[in-house]
C-alpha cells in the first residue's frame, strides 16, 4: 500500500533520506556485474529508472525489481527468465518462460509499452475495462478476446485463475495485497509494477525495458527508448534557451483539498524539464501535497499557467466555485486539462500512453507555455479549457 502523506511529519524525512540513499546506491545500473555476481555476463543498460535491473547469464536472464521502501537493497521481487526447459536456475525468485504470450495487465501504463513493442495481442485481461482508452484493447474486449477483471484495487481472483495467463502485471504497494498473495500461492507469476514510484518521466518510460525482457524483445525496447529519450532531451535543451521561465500551478480541488505535486514528484520534474517555474520546486515530497483554497490563492494566485484542471470549460469552473475566478491563469485563459483524448465512458489516454511517451507530455507543456518553440505541434494529452458559459 503506498504512502503519500501530505505535509511531512518527521518520519517522512527518514523515508526521504532512505530513498536518497537508495537512489545513490542504484546509480550502478547498466554497469557490468560486480564481483560476487560472476555468473552474469552482461546487464541491460538502465539509464534513468532506479527501480529495476536486468542481468544476463548464459542461459537465462535475471530481472530484479528493487524495493523502494527499504535501504537494505533486498529486492522487492526477482525473476529468472528462461527460453528452454531443463535449464538449471537459481533456487530463489519466480521462474518465467519467455517470451510470455498471455498476460493479465492490471495497470494501464503497460498498455502502451506493449503497443510500442508490437505485443498488444498478449493482453488477455485488463481491469476497469470501461476506463480503457486504447482502441485496439477496446475492440478486443468487445469481441471477448480480452476480459475485464473488475476493480484494479481488488481484481477478480477466480476470473484471473480461470484465464490462466502466463503472468499477471499488478501494481505493487508497500503492503502485500491479498490478490497477489493468492495468485502466488496458486503458482502464478505476478510481475510487480513499481514504475509509479519513479519520479522522472524518462525513468518511468524506461520500464518498457523491463516489459521487453519478459517478451524477449530487449533490443527493440532499447531502440524505442533511445528514440524517445533523444526527443525528450532535445526538447529539454531547446526550451532552456527561453530567457524567462513562465510560472505554473497544477492539480485541482478534490472535496475541499487541492492536491498539488510535491517538488520531488513526476510532475514537478516534468515542469523543471519544460523550463517552468513551480512554487514547490525545492520541496522534497515525492507524492502530493494537500492544500486548502486559501493556500492556493496566496501561493499560486499570480502564476501564468494552470495544468491538470478537472473542468472542461471556464463556465464549468465558475459554476463549481467562484473563487477559481480569482486565479490569474483563469482570468487570462491559460488553463489546461488532461482531457484531449478521452472516451465517453471515462477512458483517458493521459493515464495510459503518456507514461510511455514522455516526449509528447513535454511537448504538450512546451506548446502551452512557449508556443513559438513548437509551431507545428498540436496537443496530444492536454487541452485548453473552452469558453462555453456556465449552465443557466
Amino acid at each position: 500500500m503506498c504512502l503519500k502523506v501530505i505535509n511531512p511529519p518527521p518520519f517522512l524525512f527518514v523515508v526521504f533520506f532512505s530513498l536518497l540513499w537508495w537512489g545513490c546506491q542504484s546509480g550502478k545500473h547498466g554497469e557490468k556485474k560486480n564481483e560476487g555476481d560472476g555468473d552474469y555476463i552482461s546487464s541491460v543498460s538502465v539509464l534513468h529508472a532506479k527501480g529495476f535491473q536486468i542481468d544476463h547469464a548464459r542461459e537465462y536472464t535475471k530481472v530484479t525489481i528493487h524495493n523502494p521502501w527499504t535501504s537494505d537493497r533486498k529486492p522487492y521481487a526477482v525473476y529468472y527468465l528462461y527460453k528452454t526447459d531443463a535449464i538449471a536456475l537459481p533456487p530463489d525468485g519466480i521462474k518465467v518462460k519467455i517470451p510470455v504470450t498471455t498476460l493479465a495487465v492490471n495497470t494501464f501504463s503497460y498498455f502502451e509499452f506493449l503497443t510500442l513493442l508490437g505485443e498488444v495481442d498478449v493482453i488477455k485481461a485488463v481491469t476497469d475495462g470501461f476506463r480503457v482508452y486504447n482502441p485496439v484493447i477496446l475492440q478486443k474486449m468487445e469481441t471477448g478476446e480480452i476480459i475485464d477483471l473488475g476493480d484494479p484495487f481488488n481484481p477478480n481472483v477466480e476470473k484471473t485463475m480461470a484465464l490462466n495467463p502466463q503472468a499477471i502485471i499488478n501494481s505493487a504497494y508497500a503492503q502485500m495485497d491479498s490478490y497477489s498473495e493468492r495468485l502466488i500461492q496458486a503458482g502464478f507469476s505476478v510481475i510487480y509494477s513499481l514504475e509509479w514510484m519513479e519520479n522522472s518521466p524518462l525513468a518511468r518510460a524506461e520500464w518498457i525495458k523491463l516489459m521487453a525482457a519478459f517478451l524477449d524483445k530487449e533490443a527493440m525496447a532499447d531502440t524505442i527508448f533511445s528514440g524517445i529519450e533523444g526527443k525528450y532531451l532535445d526538447l529539454q535543451e531547446k526550451v532552456k534557451e527561453v530567457p524567462q521561465k513562465r510560472s505554473v500551478m497544477a492539480g485541482d480541488n478534490f472535496q475541499g483539498t487541492w492536491y498539488v505535486p510535491g517538488g520531488n514528484s513526476f510532475n514537478a520534474t516534468l515542469f523543471r524539464d519544460a523550463h517552468l517555474d513551480y512554487h514547490y520546486k525545492n520541496n522534497k515530497e515525492s507524492g502530493s501535497i494537500g492544500l486548502d483554497i486559501e493556500s492556493i490563492l496566496t501561493q499560486f494566485g499570480n502564476v501564468e499557467l494552470w495544468f491538470g484542471c478537472e473542468a472542461d470549460t471556464y463556465g464549468e469552473l465558475a459554476e463549481k466555485d467562484a473563487k477559481y475566478l480569482l486565479l490569474q491563469p483563469v482570468q487570462k485563459r491559460q488553463v489546461f486539462n488532461n482531457h484531449n483524448r478521452t472516451t465517453p465512458s471515462g477512458g483517458n489516454d493521459f493515464f495510459e500512453s503518456a507514461i510511455a511517451n514522455p516526449d509528447l507530455m513535454l511537448s504538450d507543456l512546451i506548446k502551452a507555455a512557449y508556443p513559438s518553440l513548437l509551431p507545428h505541434y498540436s496537443f496530444t494529452y492536454i487541452k485548453p479549457l473552452e469558453e462555453t458559459p456556465a449552465r443557466e
Partner: protein, 336 residues
C-alpha cells in the same frame, strides 16, 4: 420431534445447502460436476482444483464463521445492554479495527516498512486486531469503574466515534490512491482468508462461542435486568467483563480478517428470537449461530453476481439484500 427440533434440523439443512451452493457459485465458468470432482477428488484441471479447494472452500468457511460470530456478538450486546439496536459495532471495536488498518495504510511506506513487510498480508490483520484491542482495553477500563451498563454502551459508542474521527483525519492526510486502498478494505471481503490464516480465525471465534455457551444462564438472568440478576446471586461485574471481552474479541477478529460487515449482527438475533418464539439463550444462541452463517453464505452467493464486471462489496450486500428479506418476513409475521 417437537417444533423446535424441526426448525433446527431445517436450519442445519439450509446451512448445508447454502454452503454447497456457495462453493458452486463464482465468476469462473466451473460446472457443478467439475466443482464436485475438485472438492472430493480432482477435476482433472489443476486450475479448477485450485479455485474450488483454495479459494471457494475457505471463502465459504469464512462466510460461515463470520456470519455466526457477528450474530453471536450482536446477541451478546443486545442481551447485556437490553437494547434492541445494539450490534457488534456498538463497543467501537470495528471502528478501532478500522483505525488500525488506516494507520497501517499511512505507515506502510515509512521507516517501519521492513517490520510491516515481514508480516506479509498478516500485517492488515495484526493492525486491525491492534486497533480493536485498544478500544477493548478502553471499554474494559471504564466498565471496571462504572456500574451502569447503559453508560458503558454510550462510552463504547463515543470511543467508536473517536476512532472513526481519527480515521477521517488520517484519510484527509492520505492521497487519493491510499484512500482507495483503505476504502477497498471497508467494502469487506470474505475471500482474503487463506488456509494458513483460517486456524487463527477459527480458534478465536470458537473460543468466543464456547465461553458464550458457558454464559447461557447468566445471559438469561441479565434479560430480567441487572438488579434482578444480581439478586439471584449473579456476579454482574465478572459476567459483564466476560461478555464484553468475548464480543469484542470475536468482532475484532472477524473484522480484522474480513473487513467491516454490517447488518448481520444486529438483525439475526431478533430473527432468531422471533423464529424460535423464545428468548432463552439455550435455544437462541445456536439458532443465532446457524442463521448468521446462512445469511452470510447467501450474501456471499449474491455478491458473486457480476455487475459491470465487478463483484459487489459483501459489506453492502448484507444490508441491501438482507434487509428486504427480513422486511418480508416481518410483514408476513406482522412482528419481528
Amino acid at each position: 420431534m417437537n417444533n423446535r427440533s424441526a426448525i433446527f434440523l431445517l436450519l442445519v439443512a439450509f446451512l448445508a445447502v447454502a454452503f454447497i451452493c456457495d462453493i458452486f457459485t463464482g465468476n469462473a465458468p466451473i460446472s457443478v460436476n467439475e466443482a464436485w470432482a475438485a472438492l472430493f477428488n480432482t477435476s482433472g484441471d489443476p486450475i479448477i482444483d485450485e479455485i474450488i479447494r483454495n479459494y471457494r472452500l475457505p471463502k465459504a468457511i469464512t462466510a460461515m464463521i463470520a456470519g455466526a460470530a457477528l450474530s453471536l456478538s450482536g446477541l451478546l450486546m443486545q442481551t447485556l445492554f437490553r437494547n434492541p439496536l445494539a450490534g457488534p459495532d456498538v463497543l467501537g471495536v470495528s471502528a478501532g479495527a478500522g483505525l488500525g488498518v488506516a494507520l497501517l495504510t499511512m505507515l506502510s511506506g515509512t521507516a517501519v516498512y521492513p517490520f510491516i513487510s515481514s508480516m506479509g498480508s498478516m500485517a492488515q490483520v495484526v493492525a486491525a486486531v491492534g486497533g480493536a484491542a485498544l478500544v477493548l482495553l478502553l471499554i474494559l477500563g471504564v466498565s471496571a469503574r462504572i456500574k451502569d451498563s447503559i453508560t458503558i454502551l454510550v462510552l463504547g459508542m463515543i470511543f467508536g466515534y473517536v476512532a472513526s474521527a481519527m480515521v477521517t483525519i488520517l484519510q484527509s492526510f492520505a492521497d487519493p490512491d491510499s484512500l482507495k486502498v483503505f476504502v477497498t478494505w471497508t467494502f469487506g471481503s470474505l475471500g482474503g482468508v487463506t488456509w494458513d490464516k483460517m486456524p487463527l480465525l477459527f480458534a478465536f471465534v470458537l473460543t468466543g462461542v464456547a465461553v458464550a455457551y458457558l454464559l447461557q444462564k447468566a445471559l438469561n438472568s441479565l434479560l430480567l435486568g441487572e438488579n434482578y440478576a444480581a439478586s439471584t446471586g449473579l456476579n454482574i461485574k465478572r459476567n459483564r467483563f466476560l461478555i464484553i471481552t468475548i464480543a469484542a474479541i470475536i468482532t475484532g477478529t472477524v473484522t480484522a480478517f474480513t473487513g467491516p460487515i454490517a447488518f448481520v449482527g444486529v438483525v439475526i438475533p431478533h430473527f432468531a428470537r422471533s423464529f424460535l418464539g423464545t428468548v432463552n439463550h439455550k435455544t437462541i444462541l445456536p439458532a443465532t449461530l446457524l442463521m448468521g452463517s446462512i445469511l452470510m453464505l447467501v450474501c456471499d452467493i449474491v455478491s458473486q453476481i457480476p455487475i459491470a464486471n465487478r463483484t459487489l462489496p459483501v459489506n453492502a450486500v448484507t444490508a441491501v439484500f438482507g434487509a428486504p428479506m427480513i422486511v418480508w418476513i416481518v410483514l408476513k409475521r406482522k412482528k419481528l
